[in-house]
């Protein structure tokens, strides 16, 4: 069983080594591409195993839990690994068109694969300190990717991103230290029992808040999100797409894991805070987006606003809400990465991402316009696209427990999202180009459109499939939510697991 769990992490690392050694040759980028394909295969194998067994766990180096490092995959972790691999593959294809040769020579593909490995590791680990290590793997790769290619803007963005993320990591690390001092274990499944047995529950809540702040910075929730709109609009589009899709979701995933598995002793306090944090995140994000006039800055603020929906699913803490949260997580990664991809292609055609300086894309590049409409309206929650079902589940979950205000805010934010999306539509696609040029696909270098259009079309197709045929995905999310709320299976599999 261990191999199934290790492969989704090992493959990207192997691809990173290969891509680094061949960084000065065209072969390097195809090594990265092949690595992404193999990652997808490995994660599909993992998914098949999880669907068959429910929860699977493997003890690294044969050290039995809770003493060794455990890798564990339940439904949520498995689907996150698969979606990471899908996003990784889409980005690897997109990068073929976008990333210039001298940046490839700096080791872009190797860093990208390390990033994917770090994200996958964070989803699969069952050990708190190991989670910290994966966070660091992910962080150092993301730091380098953010500033690769140089320039004042990127360095400025990099400084802010690095500074705030390092502080959050240190808060998380201190929390780990204190939790270990209190319980004497770091295995997440073991922690559930150990934390519940403690006399001093007040202290546990204090540590829970440290984790909430640490993960909250990563997830970019209110009021800790300021690093995100300061940095996500500066790197290459392939990079900002993979950041937008995956990195904040690792924070959300860690919140979901810790606040369903370990910190459930005082739900009335911790999850009540999360509700207000979520509502403010949703609202400030969408208001921030309304004030922006840059394609990527608008999308960046929308990440924040959408993160609120996911944490709201966790905060309401009912089966339906968590199910909505899981569904939202998966839907949002596909849609948001895709919107950043579209922004990149729009820049290739029209010359900028500043909405005041571009236009006319609907007339000159109708295919791109059609492919923008799908993720944009899915993000806003139009039926029958995937975002509709995600929002529907969250709103129904709120109404079910008679949280009227929560449901009201969720719907209002959906409405305001449409405003931003129509603004992008109107300014980038409908109005004529201010310089009077025709932003046709011919304006991109040959071959670029093909490489960049393929992942956009693929992800848009997935959005449509989830939208028109949501039943298996909703059922999957339901099982995932049940596993989160009643993690007996998770705990038993980890603590009783033999390699």
């Amino acid at each position: 069983m261990s191999w199934v769990l290790v492969m989704p992490i090992a493959v990207p690392f192997a691809a990173a080594v290969g891509a680094y050694l061949l960084r000065n040759f065209t072969a390097g980028r195809y090594v990265s591409l092949a690595g992404s394909v193999l990652s997808l295969v490995a994660s599909a194998v993992l998914m098949a195993a999880v669907l068959e067994h429910g929860v699977i766990a493997g003890q690294m180096s044969n050290w039995d839990a809770p003493f060794g490092i455990t890798l564990v995959a339940d439904y949520l972790a498995a689907v996150m690994v698969v979606i990471t691999a899908i996003t990784g593959l889409a980005t690897a294809i997109y990068a073929l068109g976008e990333i210039p040769e001298h940046v490839e020579g700096l080791g872009f593909h190797a860093l990208f694969q390390v990033l994917i490995a770090g994200v996958t590791g964070a989803f699969l680990t069952g050990d708190l300190f190991n989670l910290y290590v994966w966070f660091e793997v992910m962080l150092i790769a993301s730091f380098s990717l953010l500033v690769i290619g140089g320039g004042k803007e990127r360095l400025d963005a990099g400084i802010k991103y690095v500074a705030l993320n390092l502080v959050s990591t240190l808060i998380f690390l201190s929390g780990i230290g204190l939790l270990y001092g209190l319980t004497g274990t770091l295995n997440m499944a073991d922690l559930r029992g150990a934390v519940a047995d403690l006399d001093n529950q007040g202290l546990v809540t204090v540590i829970a808040m440290m984790f909430m702040v640490g993960f909250g910075v990563k997830a970019a929730v209110f009021p800790l999100f300021f690093w995100l709109p300061a940095s996500y609009h500066t790197p290459y589009f392939a990079i900002s797409a993979v950041f937008a899709g995956l990195l904040t979701k690792v924070g959300v995933y860690a919140l979901m894991r810790m606040f369903t598995l370990v910190f459930v002793g005082d739900v009335g306090f911790t999850h009540e805070i999360l509700i207000w944090v979520s509502l403010l995140t949703m609202f400030t994000g969408v208001i921030g987006a309304a004030a922006q006039t840059d394609f990527r800055k608008i999308l960046s603020f929308h990440i924040i606003s959408q993160i609120g929906y996911m944490t709201l699913g966790l905060a309401l803490f009912t089966p339906l809400a968590l199910m909505g949260g899981v569904f939202y997580l998966v839907h949002h990664i596909i849609v948001k990465a895709n919107l950043f991809f579209v922004a990149g292609l729009a820049k290739q055609y029209a010359g900028s991402t500043d909405l005041n300086r571009i236009g006319g894309l609907y007339k000159s590049a109708p295919l791109l316009a059609a492919l923008f409409i799908i993720p944009a309206f899915s993000l806003a929650g139009f039926p029958p696209l995937s975002g509709f079902w995600a929002k529907y589940l969250i709103v129904v979950a709120a109404l079910e427990i008679e949280a009227w205000f929560v449901a009201f805010v969720a719907l209002l934010v959906g409405l305001l999202t449409i405003f931003s999306m129509t603004k992008i539509w109107g300014m980038a696609f409908w109005k004529p180009h201010p310089d009077g040029i025709d932003p046709t696909p011919d304006r991109a270098p040959p071959g670029v459109t093909r490489a960049m259009m393929a992942p956009i079309a693929g992800l848009a197709a997935m959005t449509i499939v989830i939208g028109f045929y949501p039943e298996p995905f909703v059922q999957f999310a339901e099982t995932a939510a049940m596993q989160l709320l009643l993690p007996n299976d998770y705990v038993d599999t980890v603590l009783g697991a033999r390699p």
Binding site: G150, L155, D156, K160, A163, L166, L170, G177, L178
Partner: protein, 121 residues
């Protein structure tokens, strides 16, 4: 011993917060170093303090005899120190490069990614 360690961690954290509130990025960086050390000490202290009892197995035995120091936090703290060292080295290099390009380490003057005109909106 534990009270003293707690005091040291507290002082380090307080000093790091003070430094990180400064506008100069270099001060922020030094604050980060101190905070990193405070976090490492927290982990170290979480294994409880034992005096002069290293976790060593005597020759011919299977397990250490008597009460020995908890070796796990020491292993964790080593990992954390190494990782922290790497990240700080990167951050220092980044700060140097940023200074070379932007000619400033004043965070208020670093407005290249978010220029002033749309900062007020």
């Amino acid at each position: 011993m534990e009270a003293l360690t707690a005091l040291v961690i507290g002082v380090l954290t307080a000093a790091s917060v003070y430094l990180m509130l400064a506008r100069t990025f270099m001060r922020f960086l030094f604050g980060l170093v101190l905070l990193s050390n405070a976090a490492n000490l927290t982990i170290f202290a979480s294994g409880r303090m034992t005096k002069g009892a290293p976790a060593l197995v005597p020759y011919g035995e299977d397990a250490p005899l008597g009460v020995v120091g908890n070796a796990l936090p020491q292993a964790l703290v080593l990992t954390a120190i190494v990782i922290g060292f790497g990240l700080l080295a990167f951050t220092l290099a980044l700060a140097f490069e940023a200074y070379r390009r932007m000619q400033t380490v004043d965070t208020d003057a670093m407005r290249f990614a978010e220029p002033k005109e749309d900062a007020d909106t």
